[in-house]
Structure formats: C-alpha cells, structure tokens
C-alpha cells in the first residue's frame, strides 16, 4: 500500500493482499493523517494514493460523519471497533458515495496506540437497488442542466416546504412521479408515507373505495374494513397520477377532501379527518379539460395551487448526454456490468430522435442496449431496430423531393412492419431485391 523502499517481505505481502481486495482500506496515525491507502480506496474515492498519503483522512474521504462522530476517533477513545456503519463520502466531482465503514485501533508491541485502520465498502449498487424498491428519490436523482429544468429546481425546495397541493403537468415519461417523490422526500413529511395511485389504471367502480376505503358491510364482499389510499398516506403525501381521468363523481369527493380535510369511507356513517398532502399529475393540459367541461373547475383551482410544467425530452435535448451518462452508471450498478458509455454515432442519433416516450424511453432504450452489448461502448447495432429507422438520417442521395418522399415511405413501412423485409416489400408492392436496393440507396442498411 505504500511505496517506501526497504520494505520487508511480510510488508510487501500484506500490501499485495490489501491491493487485491475489493474494499477500500487505509491507515492513519494518531494525528489522523493517512499513512497508507490501498488500490480500492483510490478507486472508490477517486483520490490517487500519492495525493492521499500524508493528508488528514477527513479531507480525503469527506464523510458526512468526519467532523462530528468520526468512527476512527471513537475507536481511539473507546478502544472498540466500529463495524458496518453506513455513511456517505463526497468525491471531488461532487458525487456522494454511500459506503459502510469498519474501524479498529492499531497498537505497537508495547500496546500503545499508534494509529487506526479503516476499511470501507462501496454501497452504490445496493443503494441504487434500495432506492428503486423504496422509491426514495431526491433532487439528486433528477438530472438536468437545462435552463427550464433548473428554474424548476430553484423553486422546488420552497414548494416542498409548503403544505400546498401541487399539480405536475408533463408528457408521459417526463418524470412526474420522480418530481413528486423528490418533493415529498424534501418536505417536512419525508418520514411519512408516499402513496402513489394511478387514477387512470383503476376502473371507475373501484376508484372510490381504493381512495377512501370502506367499512365492513359497505357492499356484499366487504367482509372487513379496508383502509383507502388516503388512510395509508396519513401524515405523508398522496400522489394522484393521471388525475384528469377521475370520474366526475370522484372529482366531487376529492374536492371535498381538499376543502374540508375530511372524507367518508364507503359505508361509514362518520367522516374521517385527514392531513394528507395531495400531489396530482396529468399528461393532459387540465385547464383545457376544464374548458371542455370534463374536469371540474373548482377542483382544478384547488389542485393548481402550485403548478409544475415538465418539458418533453425533445425540448431539453441538451440534457441527453447527461441523462445517458446517468443511466449508464445506474445500469452498470444494477446489472453488474462495465459498459463504458455510448458511441458518438449513438449520441448523435439520440440527439435527432424524437423520443415520444421521453426520459423513460431513453432509459428503456439503454436497458435494451445493455442486454445486447457485451462490453465497451454501446453502438448503433445494440439499439432497437425501430429506433434507427425512425430517425431521418440526412443522406446525400436523398436530395430531391421525390427521393425524400420515397425514403419517408420506406421508413414508415419499416417501422410499421417492425423491419420484417418481406412484409415491407409486400406492403410497398416491390420485389425484395428492389427493397434491398432502395434501402441501400437511402442509407437504411
């Protein structure tokens, strides 16, 4: 672990062993200056050994406990080991890495304390999975450098702190639920539950009992009381996705909850008080639905205390490289892979592709590519076929209007028939060899 000349054979062996393990290990003297730093420690912290040795450990690791409850200092004071304490460190690139640490005291032959040793394990992959399961997303998980999105970031902490209802509008896949979770996790209700309901996914007949619950005997199959989503979200936030699909009758009941802060479960005789914060989302422009009469204006005004408009990915293409990097990192952790990124051609295609499914589509495309790519960079060959066909590649031979029309017809047919050439040729009324020539001419092979 150190390159001091004149090392003994056991020391060399010990260093080789420490460098070969996956956990970070470093040692400090009693002044908390680093005396050795293994290879995994370099990898996890991003700090080269040569820069770390001689520095204060709290300035190299920058763990969130360093300045208040340093585990090594505790070990020095009590003589006891710390095992598996979960903390996070801050790397030089501003990224926080979750780690678990273990510490122990080092003694000399006379039993005097000469320093300490700390080993640490990178929990990024575990944390990523845990986050996905528990949905504990924060602002850190919303990636953007786009001007419009940054404006949203600036106001989000204030929105989170307030108790007001929020309406999030944005196209499908633009991250409405991620924003809702981030608002909840930054709010004073963060320790309370976050309950998500997709109003569009529940049949009208079930929606009311799902939201408000029912009591025993409310209807034939109601053999026992069942709490609704409002009850489950008590003390926390209720996320109503696709709120625009609420039937009129349920809209009235939801309005009452927002106004009176109470609701009545099906079959109950008394109302129940609630302190749930409602965060609603819609891919439609709800104000237009109000104009057309399909959404109650009074409910709209109640929900629309704060409105967040999320742009489609096609309006924030400058975020695509950043999102790609984030998803590659996430998928590497999730799938235990080591994909380096995407090729320039792929990125160029992403920049021109319309992404009707927005950020979710980009993530799905990359997940597909991760399955197809065995290592190195993701290339065009690893992407779903329909994606490459959908993008209009500027082609030198398709210069005339007729050529452009021909190419468009070809692309449309390829998409419609999922690239199955025999079906495409039949649909276009041409022979397969002619199709092949056309595809070659238009750069679609």
């Amino acid at each position: 672990m150190s390159d001091t000349p004149g090392k003994t054979v056991p020391t060399i062996h010990a260093n080789t062993i420490l460098d070969s393990i996956a956990d970070g290990v470093f040692t400090v003297d009693t002044a908390m200056r680093i005396t050795s730093f293994n290879r995994a420690a370099e990898r996890i912290t991003g700090v080269p050994r040569g820069s770390a040795v001689g520095q204060f450990c709290f300035e190299v690791l920058r763990a969130n406990i360093c300045e208040r409850t340093c585990a090594l200092k505790c070990s020095f004071e009590t003589g006891e080991e710390t095992i598996g304490k979960q903390v996070n460190i801050l790397r030089g690139d501003g990224k926080q890495i979750p780690i678990s640490i273990s510490t122990a005291v080092l003694h000399d032959d006379s039993g005097a304390i000469v320093g300490g040793v700390e080993s640490f394990r990178d929990l990024s992959a575990l944390e990523e999975l845990r986050k996905e399961i528990a949905g504990r997303y924060t602002f850190h998980d919303i990636v953007s450098k786009n001007h419009a999105m940054r404006k949203l970031f600036d106001i989000l902490p204030y929105i989170a702190e307030s108790e007001s209802s929020v309406l999030i509008q944005g196209p499908s896949g633009s991250g409405k639920e991620l924003f809702a979770r981030a608002i909840h996790n930054l709010s004073p209700r963060a320790q309370g539950p976050f309950v998500a309901v997709n109003c569009g996914a529940l049949p009208d007949a079930l929606l009311e009992s799902e939201l408000f619950g029912y009591v025993q005997g409310a209807f034939t199959d109601a053999r026992r009381d069942k709490p609704g989503r409002f009850a489950l979200a008590e003390g926390g936030s209720l996320f109503l996705d696709e709120v625009d699909s609420l039937p009129r009758a349920t809209q009235v009941k939801l309005l009452r909850v927002l106004q009176e802060r109470e609701y009545t479960p099906l079959g109950a005789s008394a109302a129940v008080r609630t302190s749930v914060r409602v965060i609603a989302a819609s891919k439609e422009d709800v104000s237009k639905l109000v104009e057309s009469g399909s959404f109650r204006d009074d409910l709209y005004f109640r929900l629309n205390v704060v409105k967040l408009l999320l742009p489609p990915l096609s309006d924030r293409r400058d975020d695509i490289p950043l999102l790609v990097a984030r998803f590659v990192e996430k998928l590497n952790l999730k799938m235990d892979r080591d994909i380096a990124g995407v090729s320039e051609e792929v990125l160029e295609l992403f920049m021109r592709y319309p992404f009707p499914g927005n950020v979710r589509e980009l993530e799905n495309v990359l997940e597909h590519a991760f399955i197809m790519c065995r290592g190195g960079l993701i290339s065009l060959a690893h992407l779903p076929g329909e994606m490459t066909m959908r993008v209009e590649a500027p082609h030198p031979l398709s210069s005339s209007p007729l050529d452009a029309l021909e190419r468009q017809a070809l692309v449309d047919a390829l998409i419609r028939h999922k690239g199955v050439k025999i079906h495409v040729a039949k649909a276009l009324g041409i022979h397969r060899s002619s199709l092949w020539r056309m595809m070659k001419k238009h750069g679609l092979l």
Binding site: G46, E59, N64, C66, R68, G94, F139, D154
Partner: protein, 110 residues
C-alpha cells in the same frame, strides 16, 4: 468593507459545506481585518443566515449537488473545494483577493 465567511473544523477549512457546523465571520476593509467572530452554522438555513449577516464571500470545502442548488442565485460569491489551515487561507485571500484557484491552502485532492 467585505464580509467573508469561512466554514471551519477546528483550525482547518471544513471539508464539506453540508456538514459544517461552524464558520468564521471576518469583516475586512482595505486589506485589514476589522472584526472576526466564530459562529454556529445551521446547515438547513445556511444561505439565509449568511445572506442575513451580509456575507459577500463564502470560502468552504466540498459542495454536494444539493449545496450547489441551494446557493444558485445567491449574491454570495462562493469559493468551494478549498482545503487548508483557516488562518493561512484567510491571510492569502486578503493578500490576493483572488479567485478560487489562487486562494490559499490548496484545492481538493481529486
């Protein structure tokens, strides 16, 4: 007169802003220190507290993405990722009135 805040951990610049709970408030005029006060810093309301104290320059250690967002739009000039002895950092800042790269101590190790 310029009011400078340096987040501290003992006699060192605190390694990360979001974990710092002390800072040194220094008022400087014509290259001379007029007053200096050690204060407790509540990370939750850090920006508002510093703005309320009239801080124009904040010298601190590492910044998380959340800190960057918190400080965005603030009139405080932030000199982050500074590492070193507080007195040396302050002395060099006053002497140089320089940008992040020229400020004392040294920048982060990565």
């Amino acid at each position: 007169m310029t009011t400078i805040a340096i987040t501290t951990f003992g006699n060192r610049v605190s390694a990360r802003l979001d974990c710092a709970d002390c800072f040194l408030l220094v008022k400087v005029h014509d290259g001379k220190v007029l007053t200096r006060t050690s204060m407790h810093l509540d990370p939750r309301g850090g920006r508002q507290v510093l703005e309320g104290l009239g801080v124009r320059v904040l010298i601190c250690g590492g910044l998380t993405e959340q800190c960057v967002r918190m400080l965005r739009g603030s009139r405080i000039r932030v000199i982050p990722w500074v590492q070193g002895d507080v007195e040396e950092v302050l002395t060099q800042f006053i002497a140089l009135h320089a940008s992040a790269g020229a400020v004392a101590g040294k920048e982060g190790t990565s």
